[in-house]
């Protein structure tokens, strides 16, 4: 079929209407020492030490920033254990035995509305940096870096699109915490001193639309509005979102802030709300456990650091346990698959997708051109693939694979079932050399 692919079949409607189950009292919690952006970390506590919720127990060191590690429950530090991290690597995790007392660290304090009104942008940036807020849509880009921009910001976009199939974590968050989202937008607008903000959602989500139409009545005159954009994939990519919400087309590599726009994921917004209102880092998040390899797909609200193994029985266990499974953290188009179910929910895990493994047989490419038609950045994935196969560096560079956003549409739309995205990723490595 020679056609542009825009829609991906998913089971979102099934799971999106289910409430999120609160699973807040696991026996042990695991907090990652290092992550993809911060490869090194220091630990401030010894084995047997008592920790409080939100206490700073260590410091991750990134290339240009430092990120404090927070305990997500009160209890005793037991030791380091190796588990699978979201990026698919075995990583050291700080194991904390929960004492179920939920004693808070002294740093947690509620700010009154007057106090918040008095905060400047620099103070807010400092708070967000101390609370280690990162982009919770999956990028884990530190939020304070976005706050540090010195460009004038005219508009704030809140990304509630969640265009990847299967995931409904942000959907539930938007339905259940609309006031936190609105307050966070107010704080951010105050920080950037801008007058306009848009909450972007897919136009097919009528339930979210109804909720926000009600909530927005309380915020008349604040400049916040709801913006329904397209239903296709990859609508949630910031360039596509900005184009459909504001009409501005960003050039490849151009930052949104240079056009006076700043965009945040909706769960990042809730994190910002918690940080500014209560000085709390993110310790809870919404997560979707779904896929055709599990009996009853469900949404959860869990503590960061919960082991995924504990959630599987709550979903009725695996469907067809004799079949080979693929275990994906993140969306099925861009998420990484892990080789074991022994992995931990970190801040940026939006979903756990368990699929029955399908072995696709690669046929020879018949040059149907579906990948070229589907590519959202107008690359020629098949030509890049041929260049990689021919090992022709000159050609790879000319075809400009660095524009690729790794959305996975080229492999998804391939009629020969070739994993074109893999070749393009390899071409990106070549082109960087």
């Amino acid at each position: 079929m020679i056609a542009k692919t825009t829609h991906i079949k998913d089971t979102k409607n099934l799971v999106g209407s289910l409430p999120a189950i609160r699973y807040m009292k696991p026996k042990y919690l695991y907090i990652a020492m290092a992550n993809a952006r911060c490869p090194k970390a220091d630990l401030y506590i010894k084995e047997g030490d008592h920790v409080n919720s939100f206490q700073v127990i260590g410091m991750r060191h990134g290339p240009f920033f430092e990120q404090p590690i927070h305990a997500t429950c009160s209890g005793t530090y037991v030791g380091l254990e190796k588990h699978y991290h979201r990026n698919g690597k075995l990583t050291d995790f700080i194991k904390i035995k929960n004492d179920f007392k939920e004693t808070f660290d002294h740093s947690v304090k509620e700010r009154s509305d007057e106090e918040i009104k008095a905060l400047t942008k620099e103070e807010m940036t400092e708070i967000i940096k101390d609370c280690a807020n990162v982009g919770l849509g999956g990028s884990s880009f530190p939020t304070f870096v976005k706050f540090q921009t010195d460009k004038p910001i005219k508009m704030i976009l809140v990304n509630g699109i969640e265009c990847e199939p299967y995931i409904t974590a942000d959907h539930r968050l938007m339905l259940e915490f609309p006031y936190r989202v609105m307050e966070a937008i107010k704080y951010t607008m105050q920080a950037f001193n801008c007058k306009q903000a848009k909450i972007c959602i897919k136009s097919k989500y009528t339930d979210i639309k109804r909720v926000y139409e009600q909530v927005l009545k309380e915020y008349v005159g604040s400049g916040i509005e709801l913006c329904c954009v397209g239903n296709y994939y990859p609508q949630g990519w910031e360039v596509e979102m900005i184009r459909n919400a504001t009409g501005i087309q960003l050039k490849p590599g151009e930052l949104p802030s240079s056009q006076g726009i700043i965009d945040f994921n909706v769960s990042t917004m809730v994190g910002i709300y918690k940080a500014i209102k209560y000085n709390m880092p993110v310790i809870k998040r919404f997560i979707t456990v779904t896929g055709d390899g599990i009996n009853y797909p469900k949404n959860f609200r869990v503590k960061v650091g919960t082991s995924i193994k504990e959630l599987i029985p709550l979903c009725g266990g695996y469907k067809h346990p004799d079949k080979e499974k693929v275990f994906i953290l993140g969306g099925p188009m861009m998420g990484a698959s892990v080789p074991s179910d022994d992995c931990i929910i970190t801040k940026t895990v939006t979903s756990i997708i368990i699929l029955d493994k399908v072995n696709y047989v690669e046929e020879p490419c018949v040059r149907c051109g579906s990948c070229v038609l589907s590519c959202p950045v107008h690359l020629e994935p098949v030509q890049i693939m041929n260049a990689v196969k021919a090992n022709d560096k000159e050609r790879i560079k000319k075809l400009n694979p660095l524009k690729c956003v790794e959305c996975g549409l080229c492999a998804y739309s391939c009629t020969s079932k070739i994993n074109v995205t893999d070749y393009v990723k390899r071409a990106k490595i070549f082109a960087k050399l």
Partner: protein, 382 residues
């Protein structure tokens, strides 16, 4: 339970190459069935020969390219066979050879005349053409997905060059009987020989339903159009190629018709255009041969240019050359251009002013050449 690691994306679209190939076969089916009804024996004989030769050539090729490496170990025939064919000879190899065979059958002449005067089904052209088509047109390049030229066209043209003088385009059937005036001249031959005043010989209705002398399947425009609509609805053929080819062809023949009117031949340009569209292999080529994804370019603008170039060459060969097979040659020539259009230095998946300029230049220059050559070039000698 086993958990395996795989690279993103973890979902795939349902559409497969197999589906596209089956679609082409379904689209070819009405024409093939019609041809089987009108010339049962001739079609069946040609079809059997070409399917047998093309499939066995593909089969032998797969076996040769997937042999065990020579390492001195003795193996049984069964082991060798399984190693060569398991997972390598897929349904796609089978289907692609079958499609080539059907297309090849439908562009073969109705019959051939032996030196002793007896008229038989086109057995020898079918054998030579299908063998050359599959081997030189496809397998020497590396098989499925690697070929530059359309195998059916390569075979048809080779057979035509070898056996062209023996071809018989007309046989009496229940479907139509030939008026005696022009003994078996195809409608295209009339254009080509400059016998343009005779083109009223064939009614539009007859052209449309294939009541004309010609090849086994190319002449039934009605069934070809059904196939074209099916392919476009199922998106198994790229509409860009079809539209640009037929559009450019219409424009150029209209210009040629105007030039002929200016020469005082008394030809109505519109009926000339319709006649040109419905005669020969224009519709068949546009539907089944140009749209073959393997031999067409990848980028949408390149596909449009590709269709335009093919139309230009078709018109030029029809009007100015001594050969009637304009569509076949134009398809082969534009197949060669397809690779150039996709060269990485200038390929671009989006329409921009550069490729729109190239497209308009092709049409304008083509129309100018057609008009000037007919009016002042002395090409027309009817």
């Amino acid at each position: 339970m086993i958990i395996t690691k795989e690279n993103a994306p973890h979902l795939r679209r349902k559409a497969t190459v197999t589906r596209m190939m089956v679609d082409v076969l379904i689209a070819l089916a009405p024409t093939l069935i019609f041809s089987l009804i009108v010339y049962p024996i001739n079609t069946l004989v040609t079809y059997t020969i070409s399917v047998f030769i093309m499939l066995s050539a593909e089969f032998v090729f797969i076996g040769l390219t997937h042999m065990f490496p020579k390492d001195g170990v003795k193996r049984t025939f069964k082991e060798k066979f399984i190693h060569s064919y398991k997972g390598t000879f897929t349904q796609n190899n089978f289907l692609s050879a079958a499609i080539s065979a059907v297309i090849f059958t439908l562009i073969m002449p109705v019959a051939m005349k032996l030196p002793d005067g007896s008229i038989i089904p086109p057995i020898y052209p079918a054998i030579v053409g299908s063998l050359v088509g599959i081997v030189l047109g496809k397998l020497v390049f590396g098989g499925l997905g690697q070929n530059i030229f359309n195998p059916a066209v390569v075979g048809m043209l080779f057979a035509k060059l070898c056996f062209g003088s023996t071809y018989v385009y007309y046989a009496d059937t229940w479907f139509f009987k030939m008026p005696d005036a022009v003994s078996g001249a195809t409608p295209l031959g009339l254009i080509n020989d400059g016998a343009l005043s005779n083109i009223t010989e064939y009614q539009t209705f007859d052209l449309f339903f294939g009541r004309i002398p010609g090849t086994l399947g190319e002449v039934y425009k009605i069934t070809i159009l059904i196939g074209l609509v099916y392919l476009l609805v199922r998106r198994s053929a790229d509409f860009r190629i079809v539209v640009s080819y037929l559009g450019t062809f219409t424009v150029l023949t209209l210009v040629a018709g105007l030039a002929l009117l200016g020469l005082g031949t008394g030809i109505n340009p519109f009926s000339f255009t319709l006649y040109s569209l419905l005669s020969g292999g224009v519709l068949f080529g546009a539907t089944f041969m140009l749209t073959d994804p393997v031999t067409s370019p990848i980028n949408p603008p390149s596909r449009v240019i590709y269709g335009m170039v093919a139309a230009l060459i078709t018109v030029f060969i029809r009007l100015f050359a001594a050969l009637p097979e304009g569509v076949g040659f134009s398809i082969l020539l534009s197949n060669m251009i397809a690779v150039v259009l996709d060269h990485y230095e200038w390929s671009n998946p989006r329409f921009n002013w550069k490729n729109i300029l190239a497209m308009s230049l092709i049409v304008i220059v083509g129309a100018l050449i057609t008009f000037l050559a007919l009016m002042y070039g002395g090409v027309y000698h009817g």
